[in-house]
Subunit: 664 residues, 2 copies
Amino acid sequence: MSVPAITDAKYVLEEKMDEGIPDFPNGPLDIYRKKASFSWKDMIRFLDGDEIIAFKQHVFRTLESDPLFARQPGEDIPVEQKRELTFRRCKQLFKYDFVTRDDIMQNPWKMTILNDCLGMYDWSLGAKYFLNKGMFGATVANTGSQRHLKFVQDIEQMMEFVINSPDFEAAKFWVGNLGKTATHSVVFAQLYTPDGQCHGLHSFVVQVRDPKTLLAMPGVMVGDMGKKLGQNGLDNGTSSCVFPSCLFPNRTPSQDPNKRFGASLGALSGGRVSITRMALVNLKLAMTVAVRFSATRRQFGPKEDEEIPVLEYQLQQWRLIPFLAAVYALEHFTRSFSMNFVEFQIGLLMKDKSDRQAELGREIHAMSCASKPLGSWTAQRGIQECREACGGHGYLAMNRLGDMRDDNDPNCTYEGDNNVLLQQTSNYLLSWLQHKQEGRGRIESPLETVNFLEDMSSILQSKFTVGSVEECMNSAVPLAAYKWLVCFLLGESQRKLFHEKSSGLGDFEARNNSQVYYCRSLAIAYIEHTVLQRFHDLIKDEQTPAALRSVLGRLCALYGLWTLTNHMAILYQGGYFSGRQPVDFIQTAILALCGQLKDDAVALVDVIAPPDFILNSPIGKADGELYKNLWSTVMLGKNVLERPSWWAEFCSDKPAVGSLRAKL
Amino acid sequence: MSVPAITDAKYVLEEKMDEGIPDFPNGPLDIYRKKASFSWKDMIRFLDGDEIIAFKQHVFRTLESDPLFARQPGEDIPVEQKRELTFRRCKQLFKYDFVTRDDIMQNPWKMTILNDCLGMYDWSLGAKYFLNKGMFGATVANTGSQRHLKFVQDIEQMMEFVINSPDFEAAKFWVGNLGKTATHSVVFAQLYTPDGQCHGLHSFVVQVRDPKTLLAMPGVMVGDMGKKLGQNGLDNGTSSCVFPSCLFPNRTPSQDPNKRFGASLGALSGGRVSITRMALVNLKLAMTVAVRFSATRRQFGPKEDEEIPVLEYQLQQWRLIPFLAAVYALEHFTRSFSMNFVEFQIGLLMKDKSDRQAELGREIHAMSCASKPLGSWTAQRGIQECREACGGHGYLAMNRLGDMRDDNDPNCTYEGDNNVLLQQTSNYLLSWLQHKQEGRGRIESPLETVNFLEDMSSILQSKFTVGSVEECMNSAVPLAAYKWLVCFLLGESQRKLFHEKSSGLGDFEARNNSQVYYCRSLAIAYIEHTVLQRFHDLIKDEQTPAALRSVLGRLCALYGLWTLTNHMAILYQGGYFSGRQPVDFIQTAILALCGQLKDDAVALVDVIAPPDFILNSPIGKADGELYKNLWSTVMLGKNVLERPSWWAEFCSDKPAVGSLRAKL
């Protein structure tokens, strides 16, 4: 496969950039595009800005014009070949070097956008690339001492340690890139010194394969874990040191273990901040497919002779449009949260030892431990809904919803199981409540996500007092409800913990028995409130273009009301709701907002959709020629109309005529 | 691949049957097995009975001893090869002929059990076999006239019709078995007579391929749709008649179109009754894997030096055990419902023209249109929860949770999209309400699923009056709540429909705007009530062994309370709940029941688990040797420890040393 010179690709980019954002081809989606209440190009400019728009187009076009990145919807590629293809493409990405060090310094958001773009193409590739480029390097940078920044050159200067995995239960699983290719890995292990003392967790750089032969180093067993549900272009490995092996530590053991743990909390948040975004990218892909499909797929209608697009059905709107609102809510959240994380990283680099920096680390840790669950679960459920909403066509591999679901799935698990992570967030909130109760000062955090808890007692006095459905269609309504909800669940969780402890349980059991319905719900409500608050503030922001405020306001209200419906029983239980009206108003408002947004839905996915080549889904193509695209892709498949290779066996020995007769 | 003679397999069966139900190997699961409050073998005997136990063992052992059915966990087989393997295995099943016509007449449940067994092995195989043996034949039997029962022999006697698909939008998609092998298919088409009159939908038998060559017949375009998310052993086809083609109708057009439609409602219910069961089978597989994993996977603990099984965590119990309760609730429901359907089928065969037979058809249609959504969604969510509850190991293809999810997924879509089907159920319930309001008699149906609606007005006066958590841990509590819920939603749905119509909407729009939060919720509540009622009645039944009643009672109460939590806001909205206590009691009761059932969980999955060979999941094996099984399966994988074939390219041209340095 030949590779065009990089300079050519860049030239093409510059030539095309003058054109700005290209129009979509005319077709069946025109009806909805014309009905949109806002300009989709204005929305892209507002969300991305010109520099990012150009950058995305550059990345997308570069991939599209490189034959190494060519693919066919729904093609059936063996795992081994996927790994090889991904390796080659990854190597090519190192050549393209889309984001230089200077680029990152000037606009760190570009790194996230590059990950978005690569993930939209194929998460295996994005993962393989960033595990190499980002994670390995970042871990060394964040936890290594100065000399380790150049460790590969300096191996011979270092002391030797022995790493020992006593049995196969101690083997490490799931290490990305380790299955086939990694030559060095960062290993976290307990450090024992010759006096028998344990100095806790340390990170070591371990050479696992000979870079000249790719054979395992002596004493190291390293292998491929085999096929996964998704992301099969990435080789995940398992490794154990059956015999002692030579290793290199990254730190002198003299440092305070607590401080070391605190420092790595920050570095570990980076993964979760990224994953929240990655999940959102999957949801964007799925929504693009499902909304375009729903706008062009016609079924039944009020008249015998005219079928209407399924998007016109209230049920279909209710299934899909709230997830579209979630996309916009999470778009703003992940962007602003990433900027918060960059601020924290800069503080780390600047060796900021201030209280604010420490508090920022704690807050980002708490937020990321809940935003990853929120993002990954929202995407999981949203993609599944899109799959079902596209009916049988959603079940065809070529339309890619299966890959999206499979590739998103590990977001629920890696960098901490979602359910387990949520405990970190509730612990953070409970510690603030205790802080206040013990008179240690106001509740106030650098990103202000907990500040409203300062008014906890007056918030808990508030009630739902909305007088009409119209009044309810405003994000201020769910926002106020969420403030009450977080305060209520915080109080309840503390009460429950206290109750469990006072009934004689130890700390460990008491905490375990306070998760379901208490701490877990608290953490989810807190992050939903944070996402909603930020989206609400964006709408109120004077810099938000007036022409976009109306549609964004609807999305914000819908997102808030829709997520709130999961908590309505608690709102009644605690007395915030009473009587019939709250549920009546909220349900009617959700359906009314869906109805108002359905004519904007196609334009809203046009804003988030990658080019057709990247989306790689016939039913999600921008021209909306659903059946033509589907049919032509089916016909492009391998041996579609041919007899199977085993036809003669079938014909010579098939069930006898008459044997199929009904048995009942 | 050689095939042992069938007689040998039968001999092996008889030899082993004397042993009864084999014990499980000793291992880490012993701890939980010894803690169980009931005998798992007694439970199997109660649920299945000796004949079915022996039959299952016969089928499972036959497959296990036939090398054609050998497989490797997580193996990566190309779609084309999957189709070929499935075809060969299907052919073998015709030879084994596990269920003869006499068997079915004597015990129709065996057909379902055979489908369970094949599905537990591989749904593609089960589907391919039953589409051939069951569905094609059954459709001809149910909708064909006498002469079509022998149509294949009698083609030349029939009149010729012309089938025409005007364009590719009229092409039929998703026909099972049509992709590669089908020679004849049943086609539903509008029948136009030469005078231009349309006689509505009729079914025709169409020859699509030449059985001697497997080439398409002239005028017929028939092809394979390509890769799907799951069930890739089954070839789903697309077909259109680009040119007119010769076909054979199954009925004279003289019959009353309404009666014809009514008759086929019954035949169509069979698919949904089956799918409800198929979804349950998937959930059984997933629960087996997740519970055995959770009982052997240890993480953290109250003491530094001792880790406890994750099943000991309340959170893990709450994630999994309610789905285990759902398995037992749906096991009893699908079994009794299948018997109802058999009764209906016998009525059809006997040409029963009674009102009861007609009412039975309507009721089964309404039930199946909601039981399929309930079953397939419960399985979908349950399998996903199992996947996540097994962490990274759940994401390894070899552990099969991905295949279970992918194979279950179409259950939400075929034989009617879940959301669309639910309308049929609510229409049925609304028609009963109208029946009563118009003074046309009592609300009374053959299977008594609607009889309680006769007391609607007094039920709507009832309230939640439970005084303690203990009192709440009884299935009578959620059962009473469900009766109120169905009545409330029925009244609300009728009111909503009336409101929409009186505001000027036509029937079509009014119905569409009454689905979300009204008719849809009504249908779901109705079927959950029916499932719960039947399970509740089983516990009260004197024939249910006393020794099993306690564990079954807990499962029943848990299932009812857990599903009820989805409706708590409505229970408050309509005034059935008020104050704090209902939610407090129900949540506490759910967690208490989970805690009581956690020591029974392993035994409860032992009851539903197939043999290891069929389950095909290393982390779900009966010996509970989690890590050994996992490790040995990883090591059995292809090229696990070998360098990739492209290693030399990797080594010669990998990123330069130092280029991985952190960029931030």
